[in-house]
């Protein structure tokens, strides 16, 4: 368990009927690592994250979350990860504070510790003023902050973030980046899917580029640029995913 990486995906394949969404994908997020998960629309990023989080069935391949096999011990695996989905899963008629209290109970976080972490995350993401208002009255950015706080409340060994910067203001973006770096410094893993290549270049230790469900490249941004004619990560991304968009 101690030596197990936060996330290991081996030969993951997922289909929607005839459409091959993820094709024999393998990747690993090491302890203390922030990995950027890049790919054009429809590349299979969200599907991969949803399979890892247990929202979609694991059809073929193996996923291990901090040593817990998702197929064999799904509850243990789920306890060891936090997911920030592309569209938040919130209860409109709870307040952010009540919602976090509920999520803490789901993850068996002791009340006192949950109160402590909730307060911390609420202040960190500047949700104090909105903490007592119903979520249905919150803006898109506020909801995203609540969703991030809920995913990190139980301090999981692995955080999966699907386009986490959507709707966030610059201060919240900074707060999230700092939080992810702190988590990495504590030896926890982060897999972040994003279209913002500059963010990936600056934030991530490594990036994995997928296209049409297949891994096209993986490595540190510097390693991906080394020996190539392209000058930036964006150029590399465009070169690797330059063929026509899938029809999905």
């Amino acid at each position: 368990m101690e030596s197990a990486p936060p996330l290991r995906i081996e030969s993951l394949t997922h289909r929607y009927g005839d459409l091959l969404a993820v094709d024999d994908l393998s990747l690993e997020v090491g302890a203390g690592e922030i990995v950027g998960f890049l790919g054009p629309n429809g590349a299979g990023k969200t599907t991969t994250l949803r399979v890892c989080a247990g929202l979609l069935a694991l059809e073929k391949g193996r996923v291990t979350i901090a040593g817990a096999d998702l197929a064999a011990t799904p509850l243990l695996a789920r306890a060891r990860l936090g997911l920030v989905p592309d569209e938040p899963f919130l209860y409109e008629r709870l307040t952010p504070a009540e919602f976090l209290e509920f999520v803490a109970a789901l993850y068996d976080v002791p009340e006192s510790l949950a109160a402590l972490r909730s307060s911390e995350l609420i202040e960190r993401f500047e949700l104090v003023a909105a903490a007592g208002e119903l979520i249905e009255t919150c803006s898109r950015g506020m909801r995203q902050k609540v969703s991030i706080a809920a995913a990190l409340l139980h301090d999981p060994p692995l955080a999966l973030l699907d386009e986490p910067l959507t709707g966030l203001d610059p201060r919240a973006v900074r707060a999230l980046k700092d939080l992810l770096r702190e988590r990495a410094a504590r030896g926890l893993g982060v897999l972040v899917s994003t279209h913002l290549l500059e963010v990936a270049e600056r934030l991530c230790d490594r990036v994995v580029i997928i296209h049409r469900g297949k891994k096209r490249a993986a490595g540190t941004p510097a390693a991906l640029l080394a020996g190539r004619a392209e000058a930036t990560l964006e150029d590399v991304f465009l070169a690797l995913t330059g063929d026509a968009e899938p029809a999905s």
Partner: protein, 562 residues
């Protein structure tokens, strides 16, 4: 506006919703819409058969055709009232809350065009009473009256005109009203109107129909006499106009009725267009403005003893340690307590749902009073029947709503490290606690009013508690299997098919419990000793099956998340 393009787009959207499109969509496609269509077809067939039998019975030799037309007019007017009371809310929600409205508003379209497009979208969502009641009644009447081919051909047009009258007028009224009240409240307000109308209809039926049935004379003759008396009034309603067209009225009356029907529909749609051109833009803008609604209490909790709120220091401490030690013993909140807390908040804050549940609880309790004019009942039997009706009704009113009330939050059932069986049990505890509280209040009130003795109390509880347990588990299963997480009408949190299944389950349970109670009362036969135990045994067995089905559904992610 390119009307053809719009129509083509809407037809494609409908086709894709029913049959899927593309590999990914087809793989994810829920089968709910097709099942719903099948159930609607079955319900329409039942209405058709029943109405055809009624018309055949009424149409004895020498009976005036006006009586048959009055029966048809009544059925059509009931369908229109159904559209107005129960589907207008869906139509108005479609009109002002649909996701594509921002796209339409940004396009160079006048409000009238937006109204036309959205009314088109509202058609499938607000046509159930016409498809389930009006259409089968029309077909049955046309068959019984041997209507000419022209009448058959005119039927679709007549149905469209009938649909336009309540929807156009209702939309105009709703828009005019929305221009004056906060637009975000529209769903709740229309839902409340629908609930109150439902209650009024229910109570009217409760006190009128049994008395009619209890009167002297042959029942069919009384129905005939009532229809004959109501025929002149019914002939002046939209249903009456349509019935005249299809029911073989004299030529002059057909012309007058056709003109009246067309004029009413045109006036209704014109009124909606006029009000839309004045108010739609403002209403749409207001509908997208969040309403500040403070929570009942701020959920900010005090920090542990000895701690302060200077978060930078706290954050640093947290950053250096993955699991900072709390300063008081770690107390965990059990899942069922967390779920109950959450459900209580969700229920209490959705005042239309809460009002609907309380109204329905009252109506279900009153249901057995229907039988009073027909036969005298002993007080303990009546109390038991009233509580059984309430217990069975609450399974639909509370438990079936449990999953749909979560909307997107239902995804936590798949995300959190909680066993599906634990989820199902927690949902059972949460829904059951609320239902038990209502049954407790009703039981105490009725028991005191009827002056039940201790033994009668225990016998009543022994029958009612198992019925409540079973209805809650069956309600949970119905919600998990047929819940619509995108619901807008609090009376329609299940899909149409789900509502029909739920209604069938309610009828089956009610019949079963009443038969069991009557058998117990008679107390004869070689298995009489088993009867007092049977409710408990049946409830435990069937509830276990239903809870298992709910857990399986959660486990395989069967509940759709929008």
């Amino acid at each position: 506006m390119n009307a053809r393009g719009v129509l083509r787009g809407r037809a494609r959207a409908l086709r894709n919703a029913l049959f899927g499109r593309g590999a990914k969509r087809a793989a994810l496609r829920p089968r709910g819409p097709l099942y719903s269509l099948a159930l609607v077809a079955v319900a329409a067939w039942i209405v058709h058969s029943g109405f055809a039998a009624l018309l055949a019975a009424l149409a004895r030799p020498g009976a005036p055709p006006a009586v048959l037309r009055a029966a048809l007019a009544l059925a059509l007017d009931v369908a229109l009232a159904g559209v107005l009371l129960f589907d207008l809310e869906s139509a108005v929600s479609t009109l002002i809350l649909d996701r594509d409205l921002d796209l339409l508003r940004a396009a160079p379209l006048p409000p009238r065009s937006i109204l036309a497009i959205k009314l088109l979208d509202a058609l499938p969502r607000a046509a159930a009473p016409l498809v389930v009641v009006a259409l089968p009644a029309l077909i049955a009447a046309a068959q019984t009256l041997q209507a000419p081919a022209a009448a058959w051909l005119a039927a679709p047009v007549v149905l469209a005109l009938l649909w336009a009258i309540p929807l156009g007028a209702g939309t105009a009224l709703a828009l005019a009203w929305l221009a004056r009240v906060p637009a975000r409240r529209v769903r709740e307000s229309l839902g409340l109107v629908s609930t109150l109308a439902f209650a009024a209809l229910w109570l009217t039926n409760l006190f009128v129909l049994p008395r009619i049935a209890a009167e002297e004379g042959e029942p069919l003759e009384r129905v005939r006499a009532l229809l004959a008396a109501a025929a002149p009034a019914l002939a002046r309603t939209p249903g009456g106009w349509a019935a005249a067209l299809l029911g073989g009225a004299p030529a002059g009356e057909i012309a007058r009725s056709a003109g009246a029907l067309a004029a009413a529909a045109a006036a209704s749609v014109a009124l909606a267009a006029l009000v839309a051109s004045r108010h739609l833009t403002g209403v749409l803008a207001a509908a997208r403005t969040p309403v500040a609604r403070p929570a009942r209490r701020r959920a900010k909790r005090p920090l542990p003893a000895g701690s302060d709120r200077t978060l930078p220091a706290r954050s640093l401490r947290s950053a250096n340690s993955a699991h900072p030690l709390p300063t008081r013993p770690a107390r965990r909140v059990p899942l069922f307590i967390a779920v109950m807390r959450r459900d209580r908040r969700l229920f209490v804050r959705d005042w239309t749902v809460l009002g609907d549940v309380l109204t329905a609880a009252l109506l279900w309790t009153c249901l057995p009073l229907l039988a009073l004019p027909l036969r005298p009942l002993r007080s303990p039997w009546l109390v038991r029947a009233m509580l059984l009706a309430l217990a069975v009704g609450l399974g639909y009113e509370i438990a079936a709503r449990a999953f749909p009330l979560e909307r997107r939050g239902a995804a936590w059932m798949r995300l959190a490290p909680v066993r599906a069986r634990s989820w199902a049990a927690a949902r059972f505890a949460s829904a059951g606690a609320l239902a038990l509280a209502l049954v407790g209040v009703a039981g105490a009130s009725l028991g005191l009013a009827a002056r039940l003795g201790a033994e009668e109390w225990l016998a009543t509880l022994a029958a009612v508690i198992p019925a409540l347990a079973l209805s809650v588990t069956l309600g949970l299963w119905t919600g998990a299997a047929f819940g619509d997480p995108t619901w807008t009408n609090p009376r329609a949190v299940l899909t149409l098919g789900g509502r029909l299944v739920a209604a069938a389950l309610v009828v089956a349970q009610m019949t079963g419990w009443l038969v069991l109670t009557a058998a117990e009362e008679s107390g004869s036969g070689s298995y009489a000793w088993l009867l007092p135990w049977l409710p408990g045994l049946a409830a435990i067995g069937l509830s276990a099956v239903a809870v298992g089905a709910v857990a399986r559904r959660i486990n395989r992610g069967g509940y759709a998340i929008p």
